[in-house]
Amino acid sequence: FVAYRGQTELLGPLRKIELYEMGWNLKDGLRECLVAAAPYGGPIALLKGHYRRSPSARPQLEIYSSSGLPLASFPWKSGVVKQLGWTVSDDLLCVQEDGTVLVYDLWGGFKRHFSMGNEVSQSQVLETKIFHSPYGTGVAILTGALRFTLATNIDDIKLRRLPEVPGLQEAPSCWAVLTQDRQSKVLVANGSQLFILDNTACTPVTPPGLSPQASSIVHMCVSFSYKYLALLTDSGHVWMGTSNLKEKLSEVDTKIKTPPKQMAWCRRPKSQQPSAVVMWDGLLIVVGECKETIQYHLDDDSVLVPELDGVRIISGTHHELLQEVPGACEEIFKIASMAPGALLLEAHKEYEKESQKADEYLREIKEQSLLSEAVRQCVEAAGHEHEPETQKTLLRAASFGKCFLSNFPPEQFVSMCRDLRVLNAVRDYTVGIPLTHTQFKQMTVQVLIDRLVYRKLYPLAIEVCRYLKTPEYQGVSRVLKHWACYKVQQKEESDEVIAKAVSVKLADAAGISYSEIATKAYESGRTELAIKLLEFEPRSGEQVPLLLKMKKSPLALSKAIESGDTDLVYTVVMYLKNELNRGDFFMMLRNQPVALSLYKQFCKHQEQDTLKDLFNQDDDHEELGNFYVKASYKDQRLEARVALLQSAVDEYYKAKNDFSAKTTEDEMRLLRFQRKLEEEKDEQLVGFSLQDTMTTLLSVGLHKHAEQLYKDFRVPDKRFWWLKLKALAEKEDWEELEKFGKTKKSPIGYLPFVEVCIKHHNKYEAKKYVSKVTPEQKVKAHLAVGDMEGAAEAAIERRNESEISTVLSRCSATTDHLLMERLNRAKATAVKK
């Protein structure tokens, strides 16, 4: 029957897959090395000669890919390293004895360093653990003072010193970091006692059903997902349970009482079986649910790397993956399996041999109507296989099965084929990222592309993007951007060459942000290159922040204006305001009207005085005048108002705007006049317009004062007559009105007199003025007082056709019969003429 090919070894419910024969050449294997391997098939860091503490021989730090290809190597010159570890974004952390953490990229480039606090550096680091949580990569430290300090996210360091563990006299026998309830906690074993430390308290806990023989917990490990916990006691028992210590899953006796080198969970997500791997020198024991353990021998010093769905074992020569056999694979490859997938695989095999047995197998599956299940199983199993040949066999079988199904959704099959192609490519020895399908799905394509980019495998990354049809914006363009960011840091090439290369490569890629690339160039000290690159940025708005950073403020300002985004202009203006001295700032604004008007807007609301200064600087006397006028009517006090108006007058004269100056002077006079009168006569006047003032005066009978204003302010006759007419009529002072009408010839004629009387229903008075009206308005006047005869008379006299018609239209046929005849006759002659 079918069995696993060469490099896969079955160990009961587990399988061990050989990933790589390591490409490195280590003389002493991993002995005496400090080793750290990143999860998800990440890089491996070795600090060689770390345990030899002679001042002459410096330890060597080496970084390799998972397949053992060298990425970096350099002598370690800093302090004593306690622990190595990788961050979620493939950066190397080196925790030193004094609590300083140095961060390197995967090419060995130093990035930055940070300290874990004074307390740590004083009492020195005893032990360190680097852990990953949804909040990033964290560092936990046990100090010489037997206190824990931890930081949950090294990109946003907030140091937390955990409470003291009661009764702790010497280093705890073992400890681990847990992430529970959105908090990182430390689980500490002191002999047989177990404590959970969180921010505020130290709580003693007891694992349920821990065998009583144990007097001390010597080792512990938490699963990849932080859900499960395994404890190893000095009696050799492994207790497995949930990490909240509420439930026990199993307990197994390893029968070995020496402390192990390492322990790790080996469990795939959703699996029902707990299993942990314990490693001693040369020996590996897998413990699970049953009492039996699986043991096997290790030739070499090895390191366990826990993964989401298994454990990787790295030795001086080999790199293997130990994992529970995936369900689908087990179903298919189990000896004498009758699972639909297994039958389909067999059917396909027979079909290739052109044997009719194929049909028998197929029929058997179809009879149970399990064909679609069979196809699914084969596809899924293919995903879990590392050998391309096995993958192909399974996928072919699936494809074969699919032929006999209608309406089977093709997506799963298609995407699996794609995924596998990508996985096989990155698992390649030269790339060395041994991801399983489960891990790949968990980490997502985006992250995988990031990792490839980080390894400078740009062509492969682009190919993956294109192959998986990742939207250009997130895929190819992103890779190209990273490539360009890397490119601009190559110091040996000239600005021109790089700028050209970048623009050629990125030309037709959508959504490229040149400003980001330019920022990189600027950060690596190449301002000129950055400016060149910014020129390629089509959105001028994007150029602005960097230009500001590079202190190219005039350019930034004009780019912001070019972008048409006022908000951006505003940002620059505000930046400049704080950056430059006032004089320079104003000068710069002067050349940019858009920015200037924007700033004026702001000043209008926020800084009135600045506004004045701005006008002053520009010698804009006109605007200054307006400014003072505006200020004047905001002020309630008369003296202040007059003073402000005086300033306005001065400015208007400077602006050669005599008109405004004069008007403003008049206003000052008017204000004074109003004030005086207010005091004398107790009438509310201040702030009224000239007209309103006169109206008020006339209405209260202060004719003399009104006359005075009329003369002083050279009010046009017409206006005054209108005013007085209206005021007198309103008071129905007909006598005065008549007198007024006779003072001199009315500049507005006498028709208004007639109309105003009619308006106040005084036909008698109205008639007095009809005779004075000019001939052109006679008809109207007669009509207004309702004198049809008079109107007709006037119209006929003037022989004006339209006037005659107007009168006609007002005549009523019953009463004015004769009149109408006359009018019609006159109209006829008028028309003839």
Partner: protein, 617 residues
């Protein structure tokens, strides 16, 4: 001649979707501040908000009490305050003061500012300067467009006009761009974009950039063409008295956010009634585009019809009566109610508008448009000012005079200005400064000298450069060139001919046959020519800045005959009047296409000029 349905006219897209989008986002934002909260709303956002989410919806999302922003100290006992405001410095300052006052009083509250339609950096600067940046959370409610009617979309940003054209503050440009982008993402892309004006150009640019940034979705477009026009391209139209029913209602009663409040003189009761004015109102939709002289006749006909419909009851048997009550009566009642309102309104209108003064006012306007008897007009305006008839109307006539005459003679300018100031106070010096800046009211001399210089220079160099020089000069002088434009585009029909307002023959009917709105004429011409070719001289007189761009969807040729191709989106930057909308509806009917008007706000002469007053303390 009521035209209820345009024959052969394409259907319009469903704009209620925009309301739903806005509502959903608002609810999402309100839920970001869980628990009971008091909501403070900018006064001018109240009506638009009401159209999107009424009080019931707000209460459902734990809004406890609603307040209007009044820039005064508040009385609220809530621990959570939410502010829904336009991004104005003043309002933000007020909020900062509030927060600081609470701090002094040792009161702890949570504050959230929701800016709509967008946040401005200036506002955040204020928060920062006032030291409350950390105490307040801010958000954006991207409520760009309020559909006022089937074919009117408004940005409800009246300040756009002043900010952009007077203050030179272009912050709203991106807002307008975003609004277009929103329309595009919901209703599909456009095949062609035309525009005229500086702001129009900037809006287009901003829109184009937004399009490039985002993902492209190609789908069947629901509009064919877009026309962007700046308000300052045509100031004459909004300055004229409106005589089409809807415009007249706006002039007299002020339509606010698609609804109007009819006072007691209209309702003939002691109550005011608020009425929504849109195509849902069957009576209104038939008279909105009519010249007001026709409206009364139409309404009385309608009343008769209604009576006939009621009269049907007589002689019905029980069964028929039952059907009548069930099916028709409610509709009739509704129609009855609306009819009596509109009759009331037009009565009140007639009372005001058939009076002598209004006729004379119209006559003066028409003379100005025709350039006829200018002296008499000036005398009329003088009298108007002297008698303090109306502050805004006087100003309006002055502006019309200045624009149509390319500025006032120095003597007239000074005397009219002096008289105006005497009538209405010296603070109008600033108003005049504003009007001059916008080119609405100018002294002639500068323009004159330029013309002289121009012609002198013109003789020295060849024709081609003359154009350029004139460009330069005219942009300096900002001349209106109205007279020349009017001649070239035949905006003013020949006088003397009778114009039957019952059967309009062109868009001039919206101004009693005296004038075709320049803005609408431009749109008509450009659509007819499919671009600006042949209109070089016109655009030169309008200070250029015209453009025509073919849109992204190259396959537009293939479906050039679909309905969508006959829908034209016109965006007015700085506001548009109901008269213009009526004129465009008429044009659409003539050409078998439909216009959708997008505007920064509905405007009219009063709103336009009030925005330029500077007498507010």
């Amino acid at each position: 001649m009521a035209h209820t349905e345009w024959k052969d006219a394409p259907g319009l897209p469903d704009f209620s979707l925009l309301k739903r989008l806005a509502r959903d986002q608002l609810i999402f934002l309100l839920e970001q501040l869980p628990g009971k909260k008091d909501l403070f709303i900018d006064a001018d956002l109240m009506s638009p908000l009401d159209r999107i989410a009424n009080v019931t919806i707000l209460k459902q999302h734990e809004v406890d009490k609603l307040y209007k922003v009044e820039l005064k100290p508040i009385v609220s006992s809530s621990d959570q305050l939410c502010f829904l405001i336009r991004p104005r410095i003043q309002t933000v300052k007020w909020i900062s003061d509030l927060v600081n006052a609470d701090k002094v009083a040792g009161r702890f509250r949570r504050y959230k500012i929701i800016f709509t339609p967008q946040k401005f950096y200036a506002c955040e600067t204020v928060l920062e300067e006032q030291g409350v940046y950390g105490d307040v959370t801010t958000d954006e409610w991207n409520f760009y467009i309020l559909p006022l009617d089937d074919d009117i979309l408004s940005l409800e940003l009246p300040e756009f006009f002043r900010d952009n054209f007077l203050e030179g503050d272009q912050r709203w440009v991106t807002t307008a761009g975003s609004a277009l982008r929103l329309l595009q993402s919901v209703y599909g892309s456009f095949s062609k974009v035309y525009g005229i004006g500086r702001c129009a150009k900037m809006v287009y640019e901003s829109w184009r950039e937004l399009m490039e940034d985002g993902e492209q979705r190609t789908r069947q477009p629901e509009f064919a063409k877009v026309f962007l026009v700046d308000r300052d391209v045509d100031f004459v139209t909004p300055l004229c008295s409106q005589v089409v029913y809807e415009g007249l209602v706006d002039d007299l009663f002020r339509i606010k956010c698609g609804s109007v409040e009819f006072g007691p003189d209209v309702t003939s009761s002691d109550k005011s009634i608020k009425v929504m004015l849109n195509s849902q109102d069957k009576v209104f939709s038939e008279i909105r585009n009519e010249h007001f002289s026709n409206v009364f006749g139409f309404l009385s006909q309608k009343a008769k019809n209604l009576q006939t419909a009621y009269d049907k009851r007589r002689g019905m048997d029980i069964q028929q009566m039952k059907a009548f009550v069930a099916d028709e009566l409610k509709g009739l009642k509704q129609e009855h109610r609306l009819l009596s309102l509109h009759i009331g309104a037009s009565e009140s209108m007639m009372k005001k508008k058939t009076k002598q003064d209004f006729q004379e006012l119209l006559k003066t306007e028409h003379s100005l448009l025709e350039g006829f008897e200018i002296r008499e007009c000036i005398t009329y305006i003088e009298e108007h000012i002297n008698r303090q008839v109306s502050m805004i109307d006087s100003l309006r006539l002055l502006c019309l005079l200045s624009i149509t005459e390319n500025g006032l003679l120095s003597k007239d300018y000074r005397s009219l200005k002096a008289q105006y100031l005497q009538s209405y106070g010296i603070e109008h010096l600033l108003t005049f400064a504003n009007l001059r800046q916008l080119g609405l009211l100018e002294e002639q001399q500068a323009g004159e000298t330029l013309t002289v210089m121009e012609s002198k220079v013109g003789k020295l160099v060849n024709d081609k450069t003359v154009g350029k020089l004139t460009d330069a000069f005219s942009s300096l002088a900002k001349k209106s060139n109205f007279r020349a434009l009017s001649k070239r585009l035949a905006l003013v029909p020949k006088s003397g001919e009778e114009y039957d307002l019952r059967v309009p023959r062109d868009m001039a009917y919206v101004f009693s046959g005296a004038y075709i709105p320049l803005s609408c004429k431009l749109i008509e011409q450009v659509l007819e020519r499919d671009g600006w070719t042949g209109m070089e001289e016109v655009t030169r007189m309008l200070n250029g800045q015209e453009f025509a761009v073919t849109g992204g969807s190259s396959s537009s040729e293939a479906r050039s005959k679909t309905d969508a191709q006959r829908i034209v989106l016109v965006m007015f930057l700085g506001g548009c009047t109901f008269s213009e909308i009526s004129a465009l509806r008429f044009l659409g009917k003539e050409r078998g296409c439909r216009f959708i008007v997008v505007t920064t706000a509905i405007t009219n002469s009063s709103r336009l000029l009030e925005a330029l007053l500077d007498n507010s303390a």
